[in-house]
């Protein structure tokens, strides 16, 4: 035994190098790997909060109807009753947060015909028209109310 360790200083040097390497690994790992990595799985737990914290652009129908209850009444019994406001009016979360922010203007190309132009592939049950044949180029809103299309007249 003594013979083995008699000239073992080179072994000590190698062992010290190994120890230093392992220590460096753990120090680097401590610095580089976030402390919340692995809390739920093989990922950084903070990424959940990162994904959740982005800003909202669409306020949601409930936010709209908090103030615009007249529209809720106008939609009652209509085929558009379940169409959510921002589907036609565009993203309005900023306006919902602060009514002083003016809502964006409606994009005319994104209104009635976006859904109701007759296209092969649309379910047969869904109401579709050829605008030329149906109205000869007359604007939809001169006959239909957007919030209650079965009723005649504006708004």
């Amino acid at each position: 035994m003594r013979k083995l360790f008699r000239d073992g200083s080179h072994l000590l040097r190698v062992a010290a190098l190994f120890a230093a390497g392992i220590a460096a690994f753990f120090v680097l790992r401590g610095i580089l790997v976030p402390s919340d990595f692995g809390r739920y799985g093989h990922y950084r737990a903070g990424a959940l909060a990162d994904n959740a914290k982005r800003a909202v652009h669409f306020g949601g129908k409930t936010a709209c109807l908090d103030c615009h209850s007249d529209v809720a009444d106008a939609q009652k019994g209509s085929r558009h009753a379940n169409v959510r406001c921002e589907a036609c009016h565009g993203p309005l979360a900023k306006h919902a947060d602060d009514p002083g922010v003016q809502p964006a203007k409606l994009a005319p190309e994104r209104l009635c015909l976006t859904c109701h132009r007759a296209i092969v592939g649309r379910p047969a049950k869904f109401p579709q028209i050829d605008p030329e044949e149906h109205a000869g180029g007359v604007e939809c809103t001169s006959c239909h109310r957007p919030h209650h299309p079965e009723q005649e007249g504006k708004s």
């Binding site: 799985g41 990922y43 990424a47 669409f58 859904c115 296209i119 092969v120 869904f126």
Partner: protein, 254 residues
């Protein structure tokens, strides 16, 4: 004064009961004064999406809403959700014509003639939020993962942009964001669902063709829908645990 064991335990027991009752009364009184708002607990949810092909009209509202909500580049290669149109001819059901001009962002042109005997329908697509996701398995650094509430998320600060996941996804749902050179895809509007809002595509679907549901909430209407309809997932043979359930899915859809 000497107290025997029996008497000691009897007295101690009485005092303990009185103390506990007093504490409970105080606690109830204080709790009544300050009701805590229920925070979002991820483990209480398990999100899934239902897509009803029979109701999809190919209007593209979902595609536009998704790009607006999630700041997705407007170029035609980058989509978190998109709509495909299938044109299935009777003589060759396995090779339908599929088109998706700009992912359906501008709607669909009337490309096919009426009454040519083919069946045409729209299929909205998005990340399937697989419970056993191939993209999660191949990520070398843990930048993509299934969250405790069942959403496949990307940790943008961790992603190397190595593109393994882009290749691994059987549904082609991932793209590399040209601005950050990290991967991007549908995260089920995680910033919305954790606040109790609907994902932007669901919020803006005019026909109710898209529905989000919480499979861990027994009162969620998704359970009734899944019971009453014959739903399918895309590529069931991959066994990815896909949570995008399609009603009216045709065998020709890949």
């Amino acid at each position: 004064m000497t107290v025997d064991r029996r008497a000691f335990f009897a007295t101690a027991g009485k005092y303990l009961i009185v103390t506990a009752a007093t504490a409970k009364v105080i606690e109830t009184f204080l709790a009544g004064a300050t009701p805590e708002p229920a925070a979002y607990a991820a483990a209480d949810h398990w999100w899934a999406m239902v897509l009803d092909i029979e109701k999809c009209i190919g209007c593209g509202n979902c595609v536009r809403a998704c790009k607006a909500e999630n700041d997705v580049p407007l170029e035609a290669e980058y989509f978190r959700t998109w709509v495909e149109r299938y044109h299935v001819r009777g003589e060759d059901m396995e090779h339908p014509d599929v088109d998706s001009p700009n992912g359906g962002y501008d709607g669909f042109p009337d490309k096919y003639p009426k009454g040519d005997g083919a069946r045409t329908f729209f299929v909205p697509k998005l990340c399937n939020h697989c419970a056993h996701s191939p993209c999660v398995q191949v990520c070398p650094v843990g930048a993509t993962f299934v969250s405790p509430d069942g959403v496949v998320l990307v940790d943008k600060s961790y992603c190397l942009g190595c593109r393994y996941c882009v290749q691994a996804c059987p549904y082609g749902c991932r793209f590399i964001d040209p601005r950050t050179h990290t991967v991007d895809k549908c995260n089920l509007c995680y910033h919305r669902i954790t606040k109790g809002l609907l994902p932007a595509c669901v919020e803006n679907c005019p026909t109710g063709s898209r529905m989000i549901g919480d499979l861990r909430n027994p009162n969620d209407p998704i359970h009734a829908f899944l019971r009453e309809h014959k739903v399918q997932v895309l590529k069931p043979q991959m066994a990815t645990g896909s949570k995008a359930f399609y009603n009216g899915l045709d065998g020709s859809v890949r």
